[in-house]
Symmetry: C2
């Protein structure tokens, strides 16, 4: 990953949200030399921070889980879109980086990542042309994408035919659920697509079966788990049928599922599939590294309940991502308005939750926010927080929020500070959204 | 605005979303020389485009409206955060640029904008320190911010006292509504803040009264308009009371309100305020330039109904912003999945609406999307579109969407293409979120 040096060498200035106004432009890699400290008000708020200790802990936790389960991971890079964090994930043992779009492939390729799983269909003239160019120009580029329609396979194969590459485009056959997102809805449809891949040899080649269980919903969690289990059975059925018809290309067969909510169920089901050939269980959690304080925290508690062996791994994932902001107004005793809005924090999977507050120059350290404080509304640049009338918050106080859904928080920041446990900035990660 | 040349000189490459993969890095100002055409599939999708002709039309429309009304505009820059568009707005006659955060001030200052209205309270050590530095270092910097609390005024005045600048920080007194966002809730509170400004002379100085009516909601539009009218009366009452007590500093008194929904009511009410001194009506619409296809389109129709003179201005605002994407899957006859998600388009004020579709290499031009196609869900990187089972859409087709709420679409793009009426890229605007 020598090209990551390019990110360290980027000149950063105050056009980037979160950087103090008027600072002399500096190398991103030198950001720690400022010794900026959040609680000493070195930074304009809002800022997004990652706790260095939590990142390290979470990386180790996932490595232990994978070792226990026998699966490998291709973490979903779309969560953070930070090549610096991708490299860290590879250092922790990840097999590849997963992405969602051709733009995300471009960013990974720019920074030298050589194994990429596009967990999507590859469509559009520029997207297909670009991937074929990359495959042609770099024999070390190991690329996988999904197929779920005969039309899609034919378009991809036609492009590959017109634009020769010395090896096939590797595809994974996507299974889906009725009413769900992409993916074949039944075995007949899946087999038709798999056969069309074989018919399009040598331009494309089938290397596995894929599905995404994270969007399956149901009335209760137990019902949802039952549906997820049935879906994983369906993926197993597709894989068995493709193997029976000898539709897979040579090499290990990839069985891939697993977002950040059900990866324990995925590995539990996949390790019971016997295709009589080498297989690889590929999970794709994007959110384990940053984790969160709401949605994925609840999912994780459920993983612990379902998977007894997870208890053996000790302390679970820690929320690493936090947003800090100022109280700018307390126009009513029960309402405070903060300098953070929906352009700074996710709100699609729950509102941010206040965790800490701090009065600069007065408090010795951050204090827990008591019960009874709730975000009632986010505007583009403001948060409305309902607070008890007798609470002590005032204009100029700082407040820290936990988030729900890291993906849609990361994408609101071009730069996320990494801090030590004293809130001193030790480094920063650049994102590419 | 000579510093805008810096943006034209930026080297652009395929790490920016919407730029074709593998392109040789080029000057942003040279983007038109590629002659990229959307319908010839020169671009990877999704992309966000602005129609050049609609921008020109909308700029002229607002200039005509302002001429008719006697008001001036400080367009809210937070909508686009594009200094190139800010310059265009100044060229169209804007008096200043409005912003929401200190980061947005930093971007404006970097590119040489000299008159800035921060439509917010200025809080936090770095934010205050930065603005005071800028005032000290540039005698031509004309800056306004809001105050709505005595505590806030005292914090600002204390900082100015400790960090001398040769002139006062100009503030506007913010009026608000019960249950609303920032702003004093009643005349007593407002006068207490205004008196604290006077007491803090010469460090701060009161130059006007401000409010934001756009967040006022009610059961029906008529009730909402009645509440907006009452709020404008309240702002007038504050201004009259401050004038009676001689709390305003020398110079024209600024009366400011008006987002993108009720600016006609604002100018209608404000021109009936007689303070016996020179006053300036300052509107702040951020969305007129791009307009949209849903929320602001409906608001505009209502402006036309309310304000008879608007009819004299001919054709109203046109939606300039559009998103283009590909069909990547049609997993069920009534469902298509597109390569665009909530990371690409706004969804906080209504889902995007399909407008056009196009089959590359087959259709001669884009066709209107018939009734009956509705976005049912957005994921981070996908759109779920319900379509009639008999509709002709297939994998690889292109589809264009109108948007609702430009602010939260612009902030998902670092680069927005500007196209001519044939969808050829003529230029691009860079954003700074």
């Amino acid at each position: 990953m020598s090209r990551l040096r390019e990110i360290e060498d980027l000149l950063v200035d105050d056009r980037i949200k979160g950087i103090p106004g008027g600072v002399v432009p500096f190398r991103l890699g030198d950001i720690g030399s400022h010794r900026w400290n959040l609680l000493r008000e070195s930074l304009p708020l809002p800022v997004a921070i990652l706790k260095a200790s939590a990142l390290t802990h979470n990386g180790r936790w996932m490595a232990s889980f994978l070792e226990l389960s026998g699966a490998v991971i291709s973490p979903h890079g779309k969560t953070t879109m930070s090549p610096q964090l991708f490299e860290r994930q590879l250092d922790d043992g990840a097999w590849a980086i997963t992405v969602a779009t051709v733009h995300q492939i471009q960013v990974c390729r720019h920074y030298g990542f050589s194994r990429i799983v596009l967990a999507n269909q590859l469509v559009g003239r520029q997207a297909v042309r670009y991937v074929l160019d990359e495959l042609r120009d770099d024999p070390g580029f190991d690329f996988y994408c999904l197929v779920d329609s005969v039309v899609g396979v034919e378009l991809l194969a036609a492009a590959a035919r017109a634009h020769p590459v010395s090896r096939p485009v590797k595809v994974l056959l996507e299974g889906g659920t009725p009413g769900g997102r992409t993916g074949c809805r039944n075995l007949d449809a899946a087999l038709a697509v798999a056969r069309s891949v074989k018919a399009a040899a040598p331009h494309v080649a089938l290397h596995g079966v894929e599905g995404f269980e994270g969007l399956i919903h149901a009335g209760t969690l137990t019902e949802r788990e039952a549906k997820v289990a049935a879906f994983l059975d369906f993926l197993a059925e597709i894989a068995m049928a493709c193997q029976r018809e000898e539709l897979f290309a040579e090499g290990p067969i990839v069985l891939s599922a697993g977002g950040s909510a059900f990866y324990d169920m995925v590995v539990d089901r996949f390790r019971r599939i016997d295709l009589g050939r080498e297989t690889m269980m590929l999970t794709r959690s994007g959110c384990y590294l940053s984790h969160d304080s709401a949605m994925y925290r609840r999912y994780f508690e459920r993983v612990r309940e379902r998977a007894a062996e997870v208890d053996g791994l000790g302390e679970g994932l820690r929320p690493a991502l936090q947003l800090w902001t100022y109280v700018q107004s307390r126009p009513e005793p029960e309402k405070i308005i903060l300098t953070m809005g929906r352009r700074d924090v996710s709100f699609d999977a729950g509102m941010p939750t206040p965790e800490l507050w701090f009065r600069p120059g007065v408090h010795a350290g951050p204090r827990a926010v008591a019960e009874g404080c709730t975000v009632t509304e986010l505007n583009d640049q403001h948060t409305h927080l309902k607070v008890p009338a007798e609470s002590d918050f005032r204009v100029g106080d700082m407040m820290a929020f936990g988030i729900s859904h890291p993906c849609t928080t990361f994408d609101k920041w071009q730069l996320v500070y990494v801090v030590d446990d004293d809130y001193t900035v030790v480094s920063a990660v650049k994102t590419f959204f």
